[in-house]
Amino acid sequence: MSKPCGRFGLLKIAIKNFKTYTWINVKMCFVFACLTFLVCLFTSYNSALGTKNDEIRRTAISSNYVAYSSEVNKKISAGTTEKAQKTFSGSEWTEFKRLSVAQMIFSVTKKSVASAMPKYVDFTFDGQLAEPIDDAEKFNVYSSAFPFFDEDYTELNARFGENEFLLGRKPQSDGEIVLSENLLKNFNLTRDAVGSTVQMQIKGASSPFFEGKIVGIITSNYYNLYGHISWSQILPVTMIWEGSKLFNSDSLITRITMLDDYLSEEAAKQARAQGFTYGALEIVNAMKMLDNIMVLGNTLYIIIGSSLTVGLILTIVLMVGKYVRIFARASGIYMTFGMQRSQMNKLLILQLLLLALVSIPIAFILTVAGYYVIGTAISLVTHMTMDTSWRRIIAMLIAGMSVIVAITIIFFVLTAAKLRKKSIKQLLVTNISK
């Protein structure tokens, strides 16, 4: 006798059955693919949220870093004040457009009265500064060198009476300056500096610089320096203010809170305690908002995703039931005409492999297409970026294949267990029309 039904015979039957029961097979493949897609989307969505969360946390750390004056690198040498200019890479900070010039270092182009007042600007990394106006809905854009603030001697007189002076007097001629005590401290100078000449050099810049004789020290919360005539140029330095937008609206932009000063860590804590908002706190708020989005998003996802998943699983159960009945009856026929029981399991494996093979490309197409569509929608609404790299897609495909393989294995085990103890006669009389 020839060997009954070799593996090619089984493969031939498996392929024939796949073609014969096209409709249920295609439906099975589609449902497998949908389930895979849901799994992939769920993991990607969570990954995107996690990435965004990490990004904002990193930003918060950065913001805190620059918010504290103690972190700013300052150098001072005899007669020279040099303050490190922190540089930013545009590509690194694309989400954080807003820089504060509250903590700016300034140079005086003329021997003059100069003051650096806290302002928020939009820093585009090309040397331009923008000052928010009308509640930050619009911006005035300036070149890197612009007359920012001028305050003449009369105004100085009006603002600071004699009693405002801790030491010394008002400037009376070119080359004479007064410093705020804060600025003095910031430059690591003591009150003994009165009478000495200091030179302020912007790191990395050949010009401008300022040189003047300190003739007085005033009380001020600001980092002020007054000369005889105001004419100043500002350069933004280390302070960054969070402008990351979670949603496509200007809600966060218009909620810019102006920093009053170059906050020390202690001052920042006090300000927060009093309900003031500063850069880092905005990020904290943004994170809270993100948390809310995550809660909302996860809730929606759980409701919709669970409904879809339950629906799909029920569909799978129904279809698997139908598939098992068809297979049982067919197996009864095959065994009646010479198939061994062990070959029935092999045939089932072959048929399920065919199902899996067809499901995987469908899952891939659904996943990639759906991922792009949903990813785009999410990024439009929330500014969350879903990773659409091929690496991610291949990872998803592997995850999808794993899901399909897992389903297939479960499917096989359940089917084989269900049919194992049935006699051929019982298999033959299986009602497939249920």
């Binding site: 060997k3 029961y21 006669k425």
Partner: protein, 221 residues
């Protein structure tokens, strides 16, 4: 030759035990055309299923050509069903989505036959039942009589010694029944041993021998 010795078949459920065959014994010689008759529940189909190894017996022995079929291994019993016996059922048990050709070819595929060798055999079997013209049709599109003729072609494709037919005319009208009985008679004349279960005495009369069953026992024949 088929020899059935004191075969018992019990169906056990959680509540009851039903004895479908109660010590049935009989002998069927080579080339016989035997009709097994009896009322519903008399055990005639159960006996046929045991002869065909579609079901197992609780006790007893069945010898086919001197071989105890209950002692066959899984592979041997599959070969027995593939080569030694051919089955015809009341409900045809065709694969409805398969073509006539595919249905008839099935035992050849299961026997490990090469596809190019199968076609002449399939065509010959279909010619014998008068359905060669329907070779490409899907089984589901055929009439009941035609489907039963396909089932017969499938049963004889491997040239088995024994044809086991369980109510082959049970779902057919008179015309088709006569047609099927004529085909079975032709097979008998060609040397096949035919064991047919029927409750229709008119069909049974066409067999050479009638075995009557009642309550799981052979009562006549």
């Amino acid at each position: 030759m088929i020899e059935v010795v004191d075969v018992v078949k019990e169906y056990v459920t959680s509540k009851t035990t039903f004895r479908a065959l109660n010590g049935a014994s009989l002998k069927i010689g080579d080339g016989e055309f035997v009709a097994i008759t009896g009322k519903s529940g008399s055990g005639k189909s159960t006996l046929l299923n045991i002869l065909g190894t579609l079901d197992t017996m609780t006790s007893g022995k069945v010898y086919v050509d001197g071989v105890d079929i209950s002692a066959l291994s899984g592979k041997e019993v599959a070969e027995y069903r593939n080569k030694k016996v051919g089955f015809v059922f009341q409900s045809f048990y065709l694969e409805p989505g398969y073509s006539v050709y595919d249905n008839v070819e099935l035992p050849l595929v299961l026997a490990g036959g090469r596809a190019k060798n199968n076609r002449p055999l399939v065509e010959a079997a279909l010619s014998e039942v008068g359905l060669l013209s329907k070779i490409k049709e899907k089984a589901v599109n055929l009439s009941g009589g035609e489907q039963q003729r396909v089932a017969i072609a499938r049963a004889i494709i491997n040239n088995p010694s024994y044809i086991l037919a369980d109510e082959p005319c049970g779902n057919l009208d008179t015309h088709n029944s006569e047609n099927i009985m004529r085909i079975l008679d032709g097979l008998h004349k060609n040397g096949k041993t035919i064991v047919m279960v029927t409750h229709d005495m008119e069909d049974a009369q066409k067999a050479g021998r009638i075995i009557a069953m009642s309550d799981g026992k052979i009562i006549d024949g």
